[in-house]
């Protein structure tokens, strides 16, 4: 019984923790990010959801955020970020660096 309660508490807190993480959406289309600028809260964790509407794969990458993740054609990925210091953080699509550029603004 006790074990069941413990499990329930863990499950609930895990759900609560997930629900508490704000989500932000980013789309890749024609090898460009939309929007190219996203405002996110500073000082807290959040989730960036990247949807690739192109048929070809892309890699979300940012040296400033220490992140790199491949998103296949017509695929979607989640990237956990933060807590960030206030500031501007650039990111790019590694496979189309000439067009796929954007940045996060943490406030």
């Amino acid at each position: 019984m006790l074990r069941r309660i413990v499990f329930a508490v863990i499950a609930m807190s895990a759900l609560a923790a997930q629900a508490a993480v704000p989500e932000f959406h980013l789309v890749v289309q024609d090898h460009k990010f939309q929007p190219t600028e996203i405002q996110v809260p500073a000082g807290q964790k959040f989730k960036l959801i990247v949807e690739n509407k192109d048929a070809s794969p892309e890699e979300f990458e940012s040296a400033e955020l220490n992140r790199e993740k491949v998103v296949v054609g017509n695929g979607t990925i989640d990237i956990y970020l933060g807590p960030l210091e206030p500031g501007k953080y650039g990111f790019f699509g590694d496979f189309h660096q000439d067009t796929a550029q954007g940045f996060l603004i943490a406030k």
Binding site: D54, S56, V72, G73, Y80
Partner: protein, 281 residues
């Protein structure tokens, strides 16, 4: 052609730097060409398979499959390097003495060359799968075959040339210091790979970052510069590492150094069976 050549070059360079260190570390071992060649072959095959299943891997384990995969192969490479480095610490001096005295190749004895084969394969698999995905996208986007093949040639030749330059540079290290030098290079390589693995586990939200930016040295050397990238691959340089990355780096380096010291037992005085020396012919 130049655009795709540049990306291929970047990825090939990263893998080539790692292969160069492994090639230098296995200097004078009979049949090492076969081992390294097999590692490269397995890596290329693995890269194609991983690229084909990129979508499946990404969706696995509720969306963090890619991070788990990357972290796992990186940590596997760390273990293999650690195993080899510790083995070499106990036998390296004998190897150097033998090579100097008989001026010929020595057999590896029970040296774990398979460990280094796996390191080579993993380096190529990781960078290669990105190349395959990129080229697939290019060809789907209507790039001509000439452009693609040209890009591959530019990238592979350019990247391999820099790798070879590093290899021949390393060979100039005097024999007395040679194996301890390559062993330290392998130690730093392993520490850097462990830090990269930590970065993937933070990205997947499995590990806490323990501070997203412990320092920011991007004004001195940016992660995106060529030197910054090369040092990132070779010794794990990060312009703004997370706390957990630093922890992984230091613990890996300390454990391997400790293992080399304790199991190394002072090189030539090792009580273990010495490497059997056979002339290669």
């Amino acid at each position: 052609m130049l655009g795709s050549g540049l990306l291929v070059f970047r990825e090939v360079l990263e893998a080539a730097l790692i292969v160069s260190i492994v090639a230098a570390a296995t200097r004078g071992v009979v049949g090492r060409g076969r081992w390294i060649g097999a590692g490269i072959g397995a890596g290329v095959l693995g890269a194609i398979i991983v690229a084909c299943f990129a979508g499946v891997i990404a969706q696995a384990v509720s969306g963090i499959g890619q991070e788990l995969f990357n972290a796992s192969v990186l940590l596997a490479a760390v273990l293999m390097i650690a195993w080899h480095a510790i083995w070499m610490a106990s036998h390296g001096r004998e190897l150097a003495i033998e090579m100097k005295s008989v001026g010929a190749q020595v057999t590896g004895g029970n040296r774990p060359l398979s460990a280094l084969l796996i390191v080579v394969a993993i380096a190529i698999l990781r960078e290669g799968s990105e190349v395959v995905l990129f080229l697939y996208g290019q060809s789907a986007g209507g790039s001509s075959a000439v452009d693609l093949v040209g890009g591959i040639c530019i990238g592979v030749i350019g990247g391999s040339a820099v790798g070879l330059a590093l290899y021949f540079g390393l060979l100039r290290i005097p024999m007395r210091y040679f194996f301890s030098a390559t062993n330290w290079l392998l130690l730093l390589l392993a520490a850097g790979l462990a830090s990269q693995a930590a970065s993937f586990l933070i990205q997947a939200d499995i590990l806490p970052a323990l501070g997203n930016r412990i320092w920011d040295s991007s004004f001195l050397l940016s992660d995106t510069s060529w030197i910054g990238k090369a040092l990132h691959t070779l010794i794990g340089y990060e312009a703004h590492p997370a706390g957990t990355q630093i922890l992984f780096y230091l613990v890996t380096a300390a454990l391997i150094a400790l293992g080399m010291r304790m199991l190394g037992g002072g090189g030539g005085k090792s009580p273990q069976r010495p490497v059997t020396a056979h002339l290669a012919h």
